[in-house]
């Protein structure tokens, strides 16, 4: 059977009922538009909210934790090895915060194909001396270029230029800390380290992460500045931050490297489990709403095709009388359903994209999110592919039962019934 004839008949039937056909296609279009716009917006927000924390979080962080030595001498002795030994009041051993052999660890990590990049860091506890008052804080010594490349550091420097940190004795203050100290750009502040060293640092910028508590405490300086502040050599590093190509392998890799390097390693999943859960639930809800819309429009198509079949019983009967078989009639109505689906679907994708662009223009400014000026929208082609596929599937099923009904029409009954 030639498809051209089937398509021609389907077209004629649709043109004869242009209005209903358009309404059905509009229904599909509307639902696809909403589906694409909703998912794009929802996932844009997800990405942004997750990015707040996840962008700034290394996939694996290596550090030395201060804790009691798990291998106490009594457990090693021949005599008490197999006994239950209880020791009270163990104190942490005088282990160093700095990572031993950090240079070769970094070299090793950078050679690993799973690793996107490595950035060393020093976290130093300090007091900011403001008049007679000391404010506690943390100065993070960072490798400025690597921090900017891997952890979007520059996005969060709201005032000033992050590259100024490369000059010695400069600092970028957390916005909260700066407000408390009334420190302007260009001011020199005094910092006392936990070891008692006093250093003067020049403020070259403000840092605003969007998390208030974090900004009240944390400030940034270059790794050299912090090493100098602490009076430590150039090899002194307390943290190694690793970004992976695929962050899902972080837990496995963290436990593997923990044993190799004999230091503590935290992976992003363990540290930030709640973010992923929230993201998953939000996308689940938006998929549920989107698919509901599509199913509803499917019922619209089902209704309209059913109506069309009742109106066109004569046509179906005559087609059968002049030699069209059941599967031809079936194909005609499936063609109608799919045409409505394709036309509505394509228009829906276009309008969905336009709706995304429109949402993208809506201003959205908040203190907490310094880098965001308008609502974020995710234009991932994935949502367009899912939307298009679902529109075809739902319209096919919406057409399936009416088409089957049409194919079963008994022409004798219709022709005799006149």
């Amino acid at each position: 059977m030639k498809w051209t004839l089937i398509i021609e008949i389907a077209k004629a039937l649709m043109l004869a009922r242009m209005k209903q056909t358009l309404i059905a296609a509009t229904g599909v279009m509307f639902s696809i538009t909403m589906f694409v716009a909703l998912l794009g917006f929802m996932n844009g927000l997800n990405t942004m909210l997750d990015g707040l924390v996840l962008n700034r979080t290394p996939h694996i962080r290596f550090y030395n934790e201060i804790k009691p030595n798990p291998n106490q001498p009594i457990d090693q002795s021949e005599e008490f090895k197999d006994k239950l030994n209880i020791i009270r009041s163990i104190k942490p051993s005088t282990s160093r915060l700095s990572i031993h052999n950090s240079a070769s660890i970094i070299q090793n990590l950078e050679a690993d194909p799973r690793v996107l990049g490595v950035s060393p860091k020093i976290a130093a506890q300090v007091f900011f001396n403001v008049g007679t008052i000391d404010l506690t804080g943390i100065v993070n010594g960072i490798d400025v270029e690597k921090e900017a490349a891997l952890f979007a550091f520059s996005d969060y420097v709201t005032v000033g230029n992050h590259e100024d940190l490369n000059q010695i004795n400069t600092i970028i203050l957390g916005k909260g800390a700066a407000d408390r100290m009334l420190a302007d750009i260009g001011d020199v502040i005094q910092v006392t380290t936990a070891q008692g060293n006093r250093v003067q640092l020049k403020v070259v910028g403000y840092f605003q992460s969007g998390l208030g508590d974090f900004d009240n405490v944390n400030s940034y300086a270059s790794i050299n500045t912090v090493q100098k502040m602490l009076g430590e050599p150039a090899s002194y590093i307390t943290d190694i931050q690793v970004k992976l190509n695929d962050f899902t392998i972080a837990p496995a890799m963290a436990s593997e490297l923990r044993d190799i390097y004999q230091i503590d390693a935290d992976d992003i999943q363990t540290v930030n489990a709640q973010f992923e859960t929230g993201t998953q639930i939000r996308s689940m809800i938006s998929y549920a709403v989107g698919i509901t819309l599509l199913v509803v429009s499917g019922f619209g198509i089902y209704n309209i095709l059913n109506m069309m079949i009742y109106e066109k019983l004569d046509t179906i009967a005559i087609l059968k009388a002049i030699g069209f078989n059941s599967s031809d009639v079936n194909r005609i109505f499936i063609t109608i359903a799919l045409t409505i689906g394709i036309v509505g679907g394509v228009l829906g994708l276009v309008f969905g994209f336009l709706a995304g662009l429109a949402i993208d223009q809506v201003p959205f400014e908040t203190e907490a999110l310094p880098t965001i000026k308008t609502f974020p929208v995710d234009y991932n082609p994935k949502y367009y592919i899912i939307g298009g596929t679902f529109s075809l599937i739902t319209t096919y099923f919406a057409g399936f039962f009416p088409a089957r009904k049409a194919s079963r029409v008994d022409p004798v009954e219709i022709i005799r019934g006149k």
Binding site: M1, K2, T4, L5, E8, I9, A12, L13, L15, A16, D314, T315, A317, I318, L319, K320, A321, I322, G323, F324, N325, S326, S327, D328, P411, V412, I415, R416, K418
Partner: protein, 224 residues
């Protein structure tokens, strides 16, 4: 060899109660014959026609078309037979209102797919010319009068050069003038093309003009 042969056709209706509407109906139609079936309404002549047309498959007995036994054949094959070998004319015209007159005539030909569209269009115009409808070829079917529609319907029945034309009271719904035109076209087809035709009618004048009349009463053939 008869073009159409019915042997011992029995047909029952089950609704509301079991009644036999056709009782051992047997007859044949020879090639080139113009045959009419007459009888009072309710005698089963239309029922018989729908069985002969292959659309109604719920009967007992044997039906041969062109020497081929077609009882019990699959529905898709029967649809093909209707398309290729039978031309249909109904009482209520039954053109497709969504299409133009020319397209209506074309569709069975396109369905059969033996000829190209251009050639079919040429043939369709020939048929329309024969029925004096060539000027209306591009009109919509619902813009025609009843008599015109019926002439187009006959043209459509002819497009695939069927071995047999069947009609269910083709003049039943027409006024005297149109009914005469249609009847004369049937006569012309019989004389000029030796077209085999089997027409159910209750118009005695129409029946008188045919080569042979099969008379039915109470589901039986009483005279042929």
């Amino acid at each position: 060899m008869p073009v159409l042969e019915a042997k011992n056709i029995d047909k029952f209706f089950y609704n509301p109660s079991k009644t036999q509407v056709l009782k051992k109906v047997s007859f044949g139609v020879e090639k080139g014959e113009f045959v009419s079936i007459v009888g009072k309404s309710g005698c089963g002549k239309s029922t018989l026609l729908y069985i002969l047309s292959t659309m109604d498959t719920d009967y007992q007995g044997e039906l041969y078309m062109d020497g081929e036994m077609i009882s019990g054949k699959p529905k898709n094959y029967l649809a093909h037979i209707r398309n290729a070998k039978i031309g249909f004319v109904f009482q209520f015209h039954y053109l497709l209102n969504e299409f133009s007159v020319l397209e209506n005539v074309l569709i069975p030909g396109l369905k059969l797919g033996l000829h190209s569209r251009d050639e079919l269009e040429h043939r369709a115009m020939e048929k329309l010319k024969f029925f004096d409808m060539q000027d209306h070829a591009l009109k919509r079917a619902n813009q025609l009068s009843g008599g015109q529609k019926q002439r187009v319907a006959i043209a459509r029945a002819l497009i695939n050069d069927p071995v047999l034309i069947m009609g269910d009271e083709p003049t039943g719904n027409l006024d005297k003038k149109n009914s005469d035109i249609v009847f004369h076209k049937f006569r012309e087809m019989a004389q000029q093309f030796k077209q085999t035709m089997l027409i159910v009618t209750h118009d005695p004048e129409f029946a008188d003009g045919t080569d042979r009349t099969i008379e039915m009463e109470d589901g039986k053939v009483i005279r042929q």
